[in-house]
Amino acid sequence: MTFEAISNFIAAFFTLSIFSFLYKDNPFYKFAEAMFIGVSMGYAIPLVYNLTFIPFVYRPIFVEHNFWILIPALMGSLYIFRFSKNLGWLSRYPIVFGMAIVGMGVPMSMHAYVLVQVRTAMMPIDSINTFLIFLGTVTILLYFYFSKAHKGIYGKITNIGIWFMMVGFGASFGYTVMARISLLIGRIQFLMGDWLGLIK
């Protein structure tokens, strides 16, 4: 038996164990679930140690002697004081530093998420699509204006906004169903193809 065949067999066993929950809760499912959590943690710790701590902390400080790395390294390690009642306040310093980076992103976020979107929504109405975008934007904005009761003609206009939102939610839900089925297809492709060799 090759290494690939053994690894496929183990993967197939755990996939089927997880799927068995669809029938009812059982020891195979519980075992696979506990194994998944354990393996995930066991996998993440050495991975982060090898791919983050060694190249970005240990090597620069102890091999290349770039001692300025000590400043961010020490600041980052202050996070661990969150577990201390008396010294918990120290963990706020790296958080403050992180907030400064958020502040740096505000102007560009305004540009990307607001200004460009608003500018594109103000294009001339020269096609059905641009008309629908105009109608949808205006009616949805009116729907979220709560200082006026949604009655009479105003209520009918805001109803159009509700329809646009329903179409949006429907599209999102349809895509979500598609995504979940795709993930199931991926697993079944593995079981039927890689494991059993039934897919040609």
Binding site: L22, Y23, Y43, A44, L47, V48, L51, T52, F56, G76, I101, G105, M108, S109, H111, A112, Y113, V116, Q117, R119, T120, I133, G168, A171, S172, Y175, T176, V177, M178, A179, I181, S182, L183, L184, I185, G186, R187, I188, Q189, M192, G193, L198, I199, K200
Partner: protein, 321 residues
């Protein structure tokens, strides 16, 4: 006590959900085992990415950056599109950079590169370079730094080599040359590229996202902040088809089947018909075989939704009467 007679809809409404799971499972398993050629229609956002990458063909002063921002849980949707784009780049001699900022994405990135280069004689550092895993903490400095100098922002590649010394970097400096960033994500990661690389440096950004994230990204397509998007397994199937129809197009030359790439054309695409059973490597048609199953599963779900709704209204009317 006399039993109330249940009609068809009552029985459907009281159906054990495990029967529905069984039907959905069969709706997926059978089309995978007994494959058929469901037609793959290629949409404009996918075409745009293909055309952009194809326009870099053979140019040493252009490159594509592929950013892997997902873990194994969404591999079924994203891995086929990553392999398809890498195949396109290797086949058409387009320089590629790969990078990731999540530890679980690293083995997937390596696996995608290994899978795609199996059929090509490409050399690391010359035709492509894997920048490897960089901690998420330096994501922003790297995205911004690449606007000035990629070599300084990334410093070393996955093999520990100094990036500025690599042959592939001779004519590549920043986003002016590395003119397309494709982010593969199951999250809003692509929006960081839009916010920083696009807004500040005018880089072309494209997204390869899970279907769940597709609806969130359509506003950026409409504004042109994204030049294109591959949405879920369907997007991957479309790109696979484009690669087969154009980049790896085969013709008989002197009695030998030879790969003769051709330029993108809507007319050729409309007339093209690729039989999935003719494609020998199953990895190159993963998304399209998956879409066969997806088609049947979607029909089943539509039937269930219709039956559920009809049953609801029939019972409602019966109770009113």
């Amino acid at each position: 006590m006399a039993k109330t007679k249940m009609n068809f809809f009552d029985r459907m409404q009281a159906l054990d959900r495990r029967y529905i799971y069984l039907v959905v499972a069969l709706a997926i398993i059978l089309p995978l085992i007994i494959p058929f050629n469901s037609k793959t229609y290629v949409t404009e956002p996918v075409e745009n990415i293909y055309k952009k990458i194809d326009s870099f063909s053979g140019r040493k002063d252009r490159a594509v950056l592929m950013c892997f921002s997902h873990d194994a849980s969404t591999m079924a949707e994203l891995f086929p599109m990553e392999v398809a784009i890498l195949r396109h780049c290797f086949q058409r001699n387009v320089q590629v950079f790969t990078i990731c900022f999540m530890p679980p994405a690293k083995p997937l990135m390596d696996f995608a590169l290994q899978t795609a280069k199996e059929d090509y004689t490409v050399q690391s550092g010359v035709d492509y370079v894997n920048f490897g895993y960089k901690p998420y903490g330096i994501f922003l400095p790297i995205v911004l730094g690449m606007g000035d100098d990629i070599s300084k922002a990334v410093e070393t590649d996955d093999e520990g080599r100094i990036v500025s010394n690599l042959e592939i970097m001779k004519e590549i400096k920043n986003y002016n040359e590395m003119n397309l960033v494709v982010d593969f994500a199951a999250s809003a990661a692509v929006q960081t590229w839009i916010t920083y690389a696009r807004a500040r440096f005018g880089a072309n950004v494209a997204a390869g996202v899970t279907a769940v994230m597709a609806a969130d990204n359509f506003p950026y397509l409409q504004t042109g902040q994204l030049i294109g998007m591959l949405a879920g397994l369907k997007g991957a199937a479309e790109y696979e088809k484009l690669v087969d129809v154009f980049a790896t197009h085969k013709e008989m030359v002197n009695g030998v089947e030879t790969v003769v790439p051709r330029s993108f054309s809507k007319e050729i695409l409309k007339e093209s018909w690729i039989k999935l059973s003719d494609i020998k490597n199953p990895v190159y048609k993963t998304a399209r075989t998956g879409m066969n199953a997806q088609t049947v599963a979607h029909i089943m779900i539509i039937v269930f939704i219709a039956l559920g709704n009809i049953g609801y209204f029939v019972n409602k009317k019966k109770n009113e009467n």
